[in-house]
Symmetry: C2
Subunit: 412 residues, 2 copies
């Protein structure tokens, strides 16, 4: 039997009519001959409500108890989902993460999946049942309930699809797929039909919110075809898959903007081996997540070391920088808290020239000042003033014709 995994997020199961709507998508797949495994998130704002309930009792709740609490949200959805399917005449059975042996480590609130027991699911599918699994949650070896953190239900769905050998993992959302850019900023943003895991990872890391990077990484690692599509209409969404040759024809797949960034520069540190390592080890100890690193020599003995962080980490990062300052013989520390990063992403960059030129040109023409530039093999990011960020994204999108489907863009 061909198996498909269908994941429904919180907005797609927020109330009874939406659960019924989602159930109809499941039934359609069943009628098409698929064995269907559903992964569901907590209903609408349920998780937020539970978090508020917890904080009312304890401003700093123990993480194990947080997981025990929050995991009830998905458990409620899956049982309700199964009831809805039964009412529509289809056999269904719901499982918690623990019940299907979704084994994780014990890092509460951000656990990592270690293994999944596929047998119980296969057994139910063989009986002709639709299997509904609670996303976002697992158990550790002592049966403590764990949760996977942000994007956890996507990760559950993709990991399950890998474990049970599903043909495809459908991620249902309230948009009709991945877009070349954020439609709230660049209204004309076109839907992407197909994108590689690597491009999706860069887009996700740089602010495209639809899929969580961890889920995409799982898909890449276990070769799971992911289909991001609308829970409202039936049109095809975006397939995330392994790189295929025709993808290279598309120079730039998408553009993103990541706001609320800050930049810290250690000016004039000793340019000796190991100094950068010292700085980042120290930041890591302070639990600061570093996004981008830029180091440039300013003399044979001295260098400037800059890094981008989320604004929310700024205080911790400043403190850590002050602590390490003398050890690396830093002249001064320079902080910017009004930074945003505009990025373009595309596998095609590897073989096409002129992407950087076109991006910088568009920004220059719009009089956007570029603070700093970082690149990967398939990405170029420019740090710009926060208040120019949306305008900068728009001019970049226009320059790369991201309002048109890929096949209609001018070849560069």
């Amino acid at each position: 039997m061909k198996i498909i995994v269908q994941k429904f997020g919180g907005t797609s199961v927020a109330d009874a009519p939406k659960i019924r709507n989602a159930a109809r998508r499941v039934i359609k797949a069943v009628e098409n001959g698929y064995g269907v495994v559903v992964v569901a998130s907590a209903r609408g704002k349920q998780t937020d409500q539970l978090v508020a309930d917890a904080l009312e009792l304890n401003p700093n709740p123990p993480k194990r108890e947080m997981d025990q609490l929050l995991s009830t949200g998905e458990q409620q959805t899956v049982s309700l989902f199964a009831m809805a399917l039964e009412a529509m005449g289809y056999d269904a059975i719901s499982f918690t993460g623990g019940q299907i042996r979704m084994m994780t480590d014990s890092s509460h609130t951000k656990a990592r999946i270690q293994s999944i027991g596929a047998e119980r699911i296969h057994k139910q599918l063989d009986k002709g049942k639709i299997v509904i699994v609670a996303g976002f949650q697992g158990i550790d070896k002592d049966e403590n309930i764990t949760t996977l953190g942000r994007g956890g239900s996507d990760t559950t769905a993709v990991a399950l699809a890998a474990a049970i050998g599903a043909e495809e993992c459908e991620i249902y959302t309230d948009v009709d797929g991945i877009h070349t850019s954020d439609p709230r900023i660049f209204k004309e943003a076109a839907k992407i039909d197909e994108i590689s895991y690597d491009e999706m990872l860069e887009l996700a890391h740089f602010g495209a919110g639809v899929m969580h990077p961890r889920a995409v990484e799982f898909g890449k690692k276990y070769d799971v075809k992911i289909h991001v599509r609308s829970s409202i209409n039936e049109s095809n969404g975006t397939i995330i898959t392994h790189e295929v040759p025709q993808m290279e024809g598309v120079t730039v797949s998408g553009a993103t903007v990541q706001k609320d960034m800050a930049k810290i520069s250690l000016v004039g540190i000793d340019n000796t081996p190991g100094n950068a390592a010292k700085v980042f080890a120290h930041l890591s100890k302070a639990k600061v997540v570093v996004n981008d690193i830029i180091q440039t020599e300013i003399s044979p003995e001295k260098a400037n070391l800059s890094f981008m962080i989320n604004l929310s980490d700024l205080d911790a990062a400043k403190e850590a920088a002050e602590q390490i300052k003398d050890e690396v013989n830093c002249d001064s520390i320079f902080v910017r808290d009004d930074i945003a990063e505009v990025s373009v992403v595309g596998i095609g960059m590897r073989t096409h020239y002129g992407v950087a030129e076109k991006m910088f040109g568009a920004l220059a023409e719009a009089k956007v000042n570029i603070d700093s530039i970082t690149t990967s093999e398939i990405r170029i990011s420019c740090a710009v003033d926060e208040d120019q960020a949306e305008m900068a994204l728009k001019v970049v999108c226009t320059a790369f014709e991201l309002g048109k489907p890929a096949e209609h863009r001018r070849k560069s």
Copy 2:
């Protein structure tokens, strides 16, 4: 270490201030040197809300899924309870029924406890932790979540107290103990200091809502001292325990009224062995719960067979009676749907005379018509007209001086 079990019902944990209030009761026991195991129910109206959510999707939800859904209510409470204790500076850990191996059969929505894993609880108590266990729920051998049905959290608490060898099981409620009668009807009803399991069982079966009979049965079977007391004040409540000699001095411990009853009479059935058995086997198949049975010979060949049921079972019972009518050669079926049952209960009845006389006399004086009478060793029940029921209870309470503490009543 001396261990105590404290059970908090839904109203005692309805919101954050109430959970904190309950946590303070726990802390007091800890400070008194007890190892404390808390059993908690779902918060306030949470279960009702979940039932409504289910019925919106499926008017006849599968029971397994109902259990999967409803068990989240207690799971939320216990994690929040643990968070509250942590915030107050005490180590606590919460467990679902499954996590402490509360093993039950697979009768979803009314499962029976088979065994409890005490080790995990002892281990945590030995570490100095307060252990919070979700009431009302367990798992079957395939790790399906089950629930224990009405009064399930009381049963969990008493069963746990037995399994871990607790000194006492405290049941916290919004009243300050068991009363001689329902204070909503007989305002002067006195609190009972001590009552035997058997008396409590009779009272519970006949409408006294504070403790569920199953929990009392567990207490009797495993010799668990149960203390029903107020979550609002600190005064002693009612101890439910094994019969002690001084209890016999109290003729009548309490009086109850059970409303919404119906009576079905099979008039003139053949008085041959096995006919009554046939009738009740048939009713049982129709899932009708029979409360009281009255059979009287009306001739050497014929008898009248009557039984009391809850009004909600009336249609099913009438249908079942019609089906069996010819088989037992019944002349006619007579139904009353306006019946209530007033009962007095007391171990003292075994050795004291005149209880029946006093009860019937009080009812006669108040011009209450008695439809039928049933008795057990420690109970007398009179079926009366529903609209005379409350008045009947009041006159019976007055006759037995149930407004006074037991030691202040006239000796009969």
